[in-house]
């Protein structure tokens, strides 16, 4: 049995595997399959200041080794989250990353602030959502906006702040450096890539929202590349994700520089994916006589 525990920003995780935000709700459904205490942590569905109904359906489309979603930020709002979901979750003996978002930096800061009085372990700030004040471009696509929203949230919370980066950019390292300098304690990446599918018979986009976020195995090589680039650009720890579906994939992202790994779409293919991945990581480390998973982080040897 390899030692799978990791520590990120002072928070202990019993293992590096975390179901990603948006795929796991608040854990209630997957708890019917296995105890949540087996997980390193849980990233909860993105929460905003007020209730949001999300985008109209259809919200799901299949793609080669991947999928698109246009759920949008459907959520009950931060107050309902704190009142109805968090107390239950905090008793599950696993690290809770509260994923938050907003249409303005102020909204993000307000949401983060409301979490100060809770025992949530970390805040994961999703900067892929459109900034209404700046004409709707995503916070995550410009260094200034990324910096601004990170600063605002940084000022609102003392909790470890993980900023979740968008891959839909020319240079993810620039954004990573901007949020690092603005006070992020860690970064997580990658969020989904923007994609589209069209029903060729009806000539309508499959998603009612026309476009949606691409996730799954298809984006894995992009995630590996971006985690590696970012790990060479910043000093803060990285939580990697994007298309991880096996223990080997998780190891690969950790070699590239991730200290922990989130699992998204794979939970749909196999609800037990996070548990299976934890076991497969252990088996791999044992087979290579590696004592602790921490020792492999960032140890890829570039040519």
């Amino acid at each position: 049995m390899a030692d799978l525990s990791v520590n990120i920003c002072g928070i202990d995780f019993k293992n590096p595997i975390i179901p990603a935000s948006g795929v796991f709700g608040y854990g209630r459904e997957y708890e019917e399959f296995y105890p949540l205490s087996k997980l390193g942590g849980i990233a909860t569905k993105g929460t905003t200041g007020k209730l949001r109904t999300g985008n109209p359906a259809p919200r799901i489309a299949e793609t080669p080794s991947g999928m698109l979603n246009s759920v949008g930020l459907q959520n009950p709002g931060i107050d309902a989250f704190i009142e109805k979901e968090l107390p239950n979750l905090l008793h599950k003996d696993t690290v809770i990353l509260a994923n938050i978002a907003g249409a303005t930096a102020e909204e993000c800061a307000e949401v983060a602030g409301k979490l100060n009085d809770t025992d949530v372990h970390m805040i994961e700030l999703n900067i892929s959502c459109p900034n209404v004040k700046q004409g709707g471009a995503a916070f995550g696509t410009s260094c200034q906006m990324a910096e601004q929203v990170t600063k605002a949230v940084r000022n609102a919370t003392k909790k470890p702040l993980v900023v979740k980066l968008s891959p839909n950019v020319t240079s993810i390292t620039d954004i990573a450096k901007a949020v690092e300098s603005a006070g992020a304690d860690a970064v997580s990446l990658i969020n989904t890539l923007l994609g589209m599918r069209i029903d060729i018979k009806t000539r309508r986009p499959v998603l009612r929202n026309n476009v949606g976020g691409l996730s799954g195995g298809a984006i894995f090589p992009i995630a590996v590349r971006m985690v590696w680039q970012v790990s060479n650009a910043v000093k803060i720890p990285i939580i990697g994700m994007g298309g991880v579906s096996s223990g080997e994939d998780a190891i690969e992202l950790m070699l590239a520089g991730a200290s922990a790994v989130q699992v998204g779409m794979a939970c749909f293919t196999d609800p037990y994916a996070p548990i299976r991945i934890i076991n497969e990581m252990n088996d791999f480390l044992d087979s290579q006589n590696i004592d602790t998973v921490r020792e492999i982080v960032g140890t890829v040897q570039p040519w």
């Binding site: 109904t53 359906a57 799901i60 999928m67 979603n69 759920v71 609800p271």
Partner: protein, 257 residues
């Protein structure tokens, strides 16, 4: 609710119409608890997303479940290519099913096309207290009519082109007849246009009606919010619900078409 995920052996495969298959799976733990109107979520090999398929038969004595599906795209094609002895990767049973009315004297089961299969477990329950009105495009699509008869259920087969069955045209004509005579409940599954027509007729006639909806799904268990549908409550307030968890069966008056 406890979900089960497992690999369940196919013990019978039958082609029952053009590109339409009936599979019987051995899965006692699911057969023990499954209810009419629930569905299973099946992973075609080498695909990333599961396919939701209604439960078309529940046999707790033999520990089997039946599903009936049509080839619509690549995933259902892959499933249709599976054979007896192979195992289907399935999460089941999912969703909440039809409300059964033990005191009902006459219910009508309205199925359209590949929406007919989920009516079968209701026919098993209601037996000769049920009338199954099934609509199809033509004789080529007609399925499962003899299965209803086996449960003692009265069968009314409709085809749009009149190429089979007693009724040429839509399911709504015979349904209106029964509604006017007075029935206890209507259950429906099929294309959206049909469901809308059925729901409107029942609401106008103040007859209890439940319909089963479809939506594209990812998790199938209520976690991803992928399968949103809008519903309205008695006060007319709009809610977002999820077909996989809150449905697939909804009360007719809840659904916002």
């Amino acid at each position: 609710m406890k979900y089960t995920q497992g690999l369940y052996p196919i013990i019978e495969k039958k082609a029952i119409a053009l590109d339409t298959y009936s599979f019987t799976l051995y899965c006692p733990e699911v057969a023990d608890i499954a209810q009419a109107g629930q569905f299973v979520h099946i992973l075609p090999e080498n695909y990333g997303l599961r396919r939701p398929i209604s439960i078309a038969g529940i046999d707790p004595e033999n520990g089997t479940l039946r599903i009936v599906f049509a080839i619509r795209g690549k995933g259902t094609k892959a499933l249709a290519n599976m054979n007896e002895g192979q195992r289907m990767d399935m999460i089941a049973p999912l969703g909440h099913g039809f409300t059964l009315k033990p005191d009902a004297e006459h219910v009508v089961l309205v199925g359209g096309g590949i929406g007919v299969p989920p009516m079968l477990p209701l026919a098993k329950y209601y037996g000769n207290k049920a009338t199954a009105i099934s609509g199809f495009r033509s004789f080529r699509q007609v399925i499962l009519q003899e299965d209803f008869e086996q449960f003692g259920t009265q069968v009314i087969t409709c085809t749009e082109d009149g190429s089979a069955g007693a009724v040429k045209g839509f399911v709504t004509a015979p349904l209106e007849q029964f509604l006017s005579e007075g029935i206890d409940a209507v259950y429906a599954c099929g294309p959206l246009v049909m469901l809308k027509a059925v729901a409107e007729l029942c609401i106008r006639n103040k007859t209890y009606c439940e319909i089963s909806l479809e939506e594209r799904m990812a998790c199938g268990v209520g976690a991803c919010l992928g399968c949103a549908c809008q519903t309205k409550d008695e006060k007319g307030e709009i809610h977002f619900q999820h077909v996989c968890k809150n449905g697939p069966v909804f009360k007719a008056e809840e659904v916002l078409f």
